[in-house]
Symmetry: C2
Subunit: 191 residues, 2 copies
């Protein structure tokens, strides 16, 4: 069998179109942006299209929504398909540039080790988080090896980190996913 050389192609769930299309064109308030993102994380578990995580890229100056992503690991069968990776990539595709230095990333949970590493390469200037990493770990997710001072490391690169925005609301989605028996796909499989 020869290796297959097809393009990388990741479909967006159909249900994601209406909330993104019908949302306000700009959300100047940080809590509004986070509510929007957490709602997407809840819809993602309701539609069973992935884990309890969503993220979006907004223009810093205006609060304009550039792109929104949800976790598609289980439905797309791709381990990189975390919400932050989806949002960053969709925003770069939409803007036609990999430089998101006019933008912020709003995520329903603090980043895993992979997404932490991806943040500086995207150029974003601000990372806004809902749930804490320990909230995700508590329900069974594996966040990977991330420095305890990960937020400081981003700050030293000029990336502002805002934590605990609507944390309780974000945590409720994690808890509900675990309660319904949602798959903890990042759990270590090796002995």
């Amino acid at each position: 069998m020869k290796p297959i050389l097809s393009p990388i192609h990741i479909e967006i769930p159909d249900w994601l179109v209406p909330p993104v299309d019908s949302g306000p064109s700009a959300m100047p308030d940080i809590a509004d942006r986070m509510h929007f993102v957490i709602r997407l994380s809840r819809q993602n578990i309701e539609h069973r299209t992935g884990g309890p995580f969503a993220a979006a890229i907004f223009e810093c100056a205006s609060g304009r929504l550039i792109a929104a992503g949800v976790n598609l690991v289980t439905s797309a069968n791709l381990s990189i398909a975390h919400a932050e990776i989806m949002a960053i990539t969709l925003a770069q595709q939409a803007l036609g540039t990999r430089d998101l230095s006019a933008c912020e990333l709003v995520a329903s949970c603090e980043p895993c080790a992979m997404c932490f590493g991806a943040v500086p390469w995207s150029g974003i200037r601000r990372l806004v988080c809902g749930a804490r990493s320990e909230d995700a770990t508590r329900v069974g997710f594996d966040e990977g090896e991330k420095s305890a001072d990960w937020a400081g490391a981003l700050a030293r690169r000029g990336i502002e980190v805002v934590r605990d925005v609507c944390r309780a609301e974000a945590v409720a989605v994690l808890t509900d996913y675990a309660a319904q028996g949602g798959e903890m796909y990042n759990g270590a499989k090796h002995p």
Copy 2:
């Protein structure tokens, strides 16, 4: 302007098809696998389709090539399009599963912080590296914040790390890229 909700789509460069299609169906020798990957990293800079990095997924038991990826950050304008992310994602697409636990990742250079974080989520059992992180840093690349004991962290997860395989040959591609004025796209842009 409404946000655009198109699928994520990343094309593979045309030049990548012949070397992958015409290569041996299996490469049981680790140096042969690394030579194959380093050749792709060199072709990537010759064709100016991205940075001096390539990676491939092989089946551990047979040395069979499952998928090959090259760095496409500058040509695709996507900050996540590192060689390791491309190879992991193409392999998961080809096999129809996100579980690569029968596989190894062979990379022409040690992983940046993002790709380090991505490795455990892919399920791979072995990571084989050519150049060292400090070789990439020396020519101007930014590897991000990665624990000094990153290889130990992977080993503790049951992922074997094999370093310095054909290192000099891999470093020569990094050096040649820098000498021809190749873009150091991961360099910090923020003050």
